[in-house]
Symmetry: C2
Subunit: 413 residues, 2 copies
Amino acid sequence: MSEKLIGSCIFGQSGGPTAVINASAYGVIRAALDADEITTVYGAANGIKGVLEDKLYVMDEEDPKELELLLHTPSSELGSCRYKIADPEKDDTDYKRILEIFKKYNVRYFFYNGGNDSMDTCNKISRYMESVGYECRVMGVPKTIDNDLFGTDHCPGFPSAAKYIATSCMEMNKDARVYDTGMVTIVEIMGRHAGWLAASAALATEFGSGPDLIYLPEYDFDMEKFLDDICAVYNKTGNVFVAVSEGIHYADGSFVSEAKTAAQDGFGHAQLGGLASMLANVVKERTGAKVRGVELSLLQRCGAHLASATDVSEACAAGKEAVNQAVSGVTGKMVAFKREYENGNYKCVMELLPLESVANYEKKVPLEWINEEQNGVKHEFIDYVLPLIQGEPELPMEHSLPRYARLKKILAK
Amino acid sequence: MSEKLIGSCIFGQSGGPTAVINASAYGVIRAALDADEITTVYGAANGIKGVLEDKLYVMDEEDPKELELLLHTPSSELGSCRYKIADPEKDDTDYKRILEIFKKYNVRYFFYNGGNDSMDTCNKISRYMESVGYECRVMGVPKTIDNDLFGTDHCPGFPSAAKYIATSCMEMNKDARVYDTGMVTIVEIMGRHAGWLAASAALATEFGSGPDLIYLPEYDFDMEKFLDDICAVYNKTGNVFVAVSEGIHYADGSFVSEAKTAAQDGFGHAQLGGLASMLANVVKERTGAKVRGVELSLLQRCGAHLASATDVSEACAAGKEAVNQAVSGVTGKMVAFKREYENGNYKCVMELLPLESVANYEKKVPLEWINEEQNGVKHEFIDYVLPLIQGEPELPMEHSLPRYARLKKILAK
């Protein structure tokens, strides 16, 4: 146990929203409010941008019951950002400003909840504060539906998205088979570079009915083979249900959807979308079948009504762990999950990883979990994902509609 | 009470699937299996096509527990069709064939579950059987997410779709507001000629947060006014969430989406879709804002995981009522719902309507429930729809995924 560090904390949310990022927020905020060492708990409006712009909400002013509702409130309640912070060696403007704000509010703890890019931000802030001798403990809390964070068994947000995708594919697959006339349904699922989410559609096939074919970005995409695969199933059954990852790409690295979109987001990623309808047109031309393209769109990442209780509980625990570890002296780490089995039962154990080991790496679906035909996953993947989607949270309802947290969001002066 | 009519029955599902059409199926099948007058219960594969093709499943052979799971199984479990039956005066080929099948299996009861077109089919079969002196009681069970069936307060299927739309809009609206950079989100909702479904998005706004603007097909669409409305909200808040009915059309009757699609379905309806991205492009051009188009797609009609318990229970009751009324002598009617209030509490009462009064009419959202600006609904609509979405059914789960009915579907010989 290192020396007690007394001061306030800032918590921020970054990157795309998930169904459980607010559960992590609750974990951080609740543990921080309960920690003797932490004097005031600030929530940054729109992540690091809120720090730079001095827009901090005072969490101590919120109704504890409303805060607890964050457990089941989807999306990023404090607002998010996709702001890429410069390398401090190249341009330290932002860091000087952050230091100024930290000093203004006597911030000694900084908790940042996000994916690879956010862990990079976290890491840079941690190193900068150290370099200028400002004592501040910086901790990362993982989050990403993409499940591509390095070093952790899985990421909060992914299990709920996987459950949403599996359930939706079960339901849509039922819908896609009601007519006795031929039909091809192509479902586009999020995932830029890693196929974890599209692969999760296999749960539907395993435990009910779901995709006949699944294409992941882990392998190069071959349009001719794709069309052959579809025709083979279509000729046999007259009905094909296909799941594709938005990030499928040709051997030269260009996204299959790329011709359709040019816009770029703040990190230089091509902005994908419209892939399902594009593929639907290609398949229609080739097969003459009735083809439907469906984009799962926003709901797969914010469908809190289909969240995994396991995910909600782990997301919250990760937030609490970050605070408890920081208070006890840890800094420069991200909370990570390790999977253990106790009498054959899944158990999630938390551990700490150095921020720099996580930042900017991407974890993909192991190739040995993908079938030889490169159009589906093996049972190893099912064994991996199934424990993560277990349990249905008890959602607070009002008028039979979700009752989300309503925060006052009082700005610090 | 009329004379006892002993014989078998056929039940068929028609038109687009819903989250609760199988709950009506369960109601019909269970009541028919329990009725002394009904000797065998047949389920037609793909609606009237199954009758014409002599493809009938023997429901008596099914496991009663699996049949009960139909209550929570989305889509049309027996298969559906969009087969338009000819006028018997013009071409009686189909009717002769139906009569042949009815005689072969001694069918004395015919129950058909569908929307306007299906009630028309039902009515024609009823009239034909009467004209040739074949005693058979024909009953319609209502179904359509579009809620456009004439003479009934509402239709099974609509409440669950409305609940799905309201919940999804609440969740997506949260997601659409996480960044502090401007954003316009346009959500396309089903509904060809009537705006009941798109209007239901107003529940999200009323009880949490949802669309700022809603456009229904009840009024002619004006692109300039639409863009002005969006700009007005955007300039004020920097964020606009818009719900549009797929059936919005210009004053000349042409669908706004029409330029994009040409295919026609079996009833001569233009096949809509792609409207959201089309409008997104127009708005992007005008405002320069980041615009996202989202199509709710199939899930709004088959999302059983968000079904209304009220809807499930009413859908099942309608099926049972059709059987019980037929057995007691009624024929040529559709089961309809009448709304009553008991001490201020919503109560659904069943009544019977002549099939010909329902067939081929379309019930639209009353114009007096739409606001003056024609971009939203008034409280009368909320009062109408709110009681219908109440209650969450207890969904049977396995491995934390839905467990749907698995029928043997043994064909009659």
